[in-house]
Amino acid sequence: MRAVVTLLRRDLLLAFRRRSDVATTLFFFLIVASLFPLGVGPEPAVLSRIAPGVLWVAALLAGMLSLTRMFASDFSDGSLEQMLIAPQPLPMLVIAKVLAHWIVCGLPVVLLAPMIGLQYALPNDALLVLVLSLLLGTPALSLIGAIGAALTLGVRGSGLLIALLVLPLYIPVLIFGAGAVAASQHGVSAEAHLSLLAAFSLLSLVLAPFATAAALRISVE
Amino acid sequence: MHWSSWSAFFNMGGYAFYVWFSFGLTALCLAWEILAVRKRRDVALNLARLLAQDKQ
């Protein structure tokens, strides 16, 4: 247990040392969300129509791009080898790393999202649902992403490979998340979408750490 | 002088929130920046002092 806490604290410390890392995830989210109006045009009606989809895709991409960093430095400097031969249960260590990743890359996006929602002319209750859906959905993104990150360790160009492995698994999260916001835009209750999202997150919490641990063992061999 | 009273002044013709928020935020940001720079200076001075004493 203490190893878990140490690992979490170490990763947060490292993230803090490199504050710009945290900031860049956020700004990537912000920039991608701001690129779309430039491509699509500035009409508020169109923008608010596509807002749920765009914001969720932007959040998803921002979370995904930071995945490469989850294990890469541990792998290349040898810390991962040491974690694997440590007498601790590996899935627990994985949970610590995923949690650190979510705190650093997921949480800030959740907090920033309403501001960008304003740029897309989203009404207030849709904004609330947006935040809720991100809060319930982003942990699943980190958990599933960890499997991809572990599988592609030490593979050149892993950034894109991760995308390829992980995006199909992200699709349910995207559908429920964007669906929740769209529902509340249309005045329908978003509860069904949100509980599906929560269920999906729980499921990945149970399964993903084991899959990630197995993937790590394979990658290091 | 076109304000009939102080309360009219603070009310800003009904736009008090927007006007005072804008000016207030500006003042706040600038003040915060000054404080942040001073804090940075204190930290730097302390470190430099420690180092100077080390060397002696």
Binding site: A3, L14, R17, S76, S79, Q82, I85, A86, Q88, E221 | -
Partner: protein, 209 residues
């Protein structure tokens, strides 16, 4: 089968489509030192990684204190210290922070004082608060090696610990290893340099390419 050390039975290893080595047997008892020698590419690093469980043997078994490590991996791993070609240091953290974290992750208990004296022992205390990133090749290696002054583990597996070290550091390291051996520890070491470590019993395992 009441050995208190490590025994390898008929180990073999295949990489790519080549058999790197086969029929490797040895027994290392407390106080014993095993040199693994051989040319470049003869399979020394592979053997060491295999002993730690980082790669799987093609055949054969490893016993620790009489039990097959397949069935008692945790026990074995908590007695084992491995240092490979990589240093296992975070470039953004200072030596002190690195050692602290590494010890916790390995399940050991250390305090800051101990770490400082370990760094002192191998003469990198001067760099203790710089980020590891700016250290030279040899300084990084020394920081990694200072774990040896902190640990109580019984079996040390060291892959080319002397590479990149200057001669004073080599001497310090040699005396630390012999101290460990005289306290009943065991060590498996690869090297290309001529280094003499005093031990109660020294074995040499020579791999050929």
């Amino acid at each position: 089968m009441t050995s208190k050390g490590v025994t390898a039975v008929d180990l073999s290893c295949v990489r790519g489509d080549r058999i790197l080595f086969k029929h490797i047997d040895f027994t290392l008892e407390p106080g014993g030192l095993l040199y693994v020698l051989g040319e470049n590419g003869s399979g020394k690093s592979s053997l060491l990684r295999l002993l730690c469980g980082l790669i799987k043997a093609e055949s054969g078994a490893i016993h620790w204190q009489g039990a097959d490590v397949k069935h008692a991996l945790e026990v074995f791993q908590s007695d084992l210290l491995y240092m490979g070609h990589l240093n296992g240091l975070k470039e953004d953290m200072s030596p002190i922070e690195n050692l602290q974290v590494n010890a916790h992750l390995a399940g050991d208990n250390v305090n800051k004082q101990a770490i400082l004296s370990a760094l002192e022992a191998i003469d990198v205390k001067r760099c203790d608060s710089l980020p590891v990133r700016v250290l030279s090749q040899g300084q990084k290696k020394r920081v990694a090696l200072s774990r040896l002054w902190l640990t109580k583990r019984k079996l040390w597996i060291l892959d080319e610990p002397f590479a990149a070290l200057d001669s004073t550091s080599v001497d310090l390291l040699v005396s630390r290893i012999s101290q460990h051996l005289s306290n009943g520890g065991m060590a498996i070491v690869t090297t290309h340099q001529e280094v003499v470590i005093s031990a109660q019993s020294t074995q040499v395992l020579r791999l050929s390419a």
